[in-house]
């Protein structure tokens, strides 16, 4: 699956994009976020408070209980501030 990080999440994690196999036992956005936290201090810091983080699956906004599957594009970012 393709993971994308934007704004301060990209800064904290240290990359904007990575490809990973769907982790074992992960079937939702929330489980993916929980799994990512264990990958390193940058991830842990970026995903410490999920209430200030937003998700999109295949370019649609998604909640923590949204399913994820192999091949999905999952983006993680702060609340948007355009306009």
């Amino acid at each position: 699956m393709k993971l994308l990080y934007f704004a301060w999440l990209r800064h904290k994690i240290g990359t904007g994009e990575e490809d990973i196999p769907l982790p074992d036992g992960v079937s939702t956005v929330g489980a993916l976020a929980h799994w990512l936290k264990t990958r390193g201090p940058g991830y842990g810091e970026a995903l410490e408070d999920l209430s200030i983080v937003r998700f999109a699956v295949n370019q649609e906004f998604a909640d923590l209980d949204q399913p994820v599957a192999e091949g999905d594009e999952v983006a993680i970012f702060p609340p948007v501030t355009g306009g």
Binding site: L4, F6, A7, W8, R10, A56, Q59, F61, A75, F77, P78, P79, V80, T81, G82, G83
Partner: protein
């Protein structure tokens, strides 16, 4: 029409390019980079976006405006990259036979895109850089349009 671009735009040229069979009102909104927000002067603002999803969400918002109001034409241009105070960030143009549809749909488009198009602003003030936080007033502005649709 939706355009996401690094380049600046000319509001006059864009308004002149608006076309329709029976246009009686054209409304435009231009968002600019402020020179200060609070006490500290802003040196620059860098807009990051999610290529692909940005265009998709803007097109959805534009389609929603056409569903709600009788519009002859619409244009949304949103810039990305590094901008300085006074620079243009976003342009929304709506055209309709009557002014109320053009005025309301223009306000709707800017309110909705602020809360649902994936852009993020990084502000540079003095020696520090800070990601702009989402404002609850923007959420409230977008929310008032969803109440009207019920």
């Amino acid at each position: 029409m939706i355009r996401v671009q690094r380049e600046d735009f000319d509001v006059g040229v864009e308004i002149a390019a608006i076309s329709g069979r029976n246009i009686g009102a054209v409304v435009s909104f231009v968002g600019l980079v402020r020179s200060k927000d609070g006490d500290d002067p802003i040196r620059s603002m860098t807009l990051e976006h999610y290529p692909g999803m940005t265009e998709k969400k803007l097109a959805e918002i534009e389609a929603e405006a056409h569903k709600r109001w009788p519009l002859e034409d619409t244009l949304v241009i949103h810039r990305h990259g590094r901008l300085e105070p006074g620079d243009q960030i976003v342009l929304v143009i709506t055209a309709s036979s009557h002014r109320q549809a053009a005025l309301d749909s223009c306000a709707f488009l800017i309110d909705w895109l602020k809360t649902s198009a994936p852009f993020w602003k990084l502000e540079e003030r003095g020696d520090s850089e800070d990601w702009v936080k989402a404002r609850s007033s923007d959420e409230a502005a977008a929310e008032k349009w969803s109440e009207k649709s019920k």
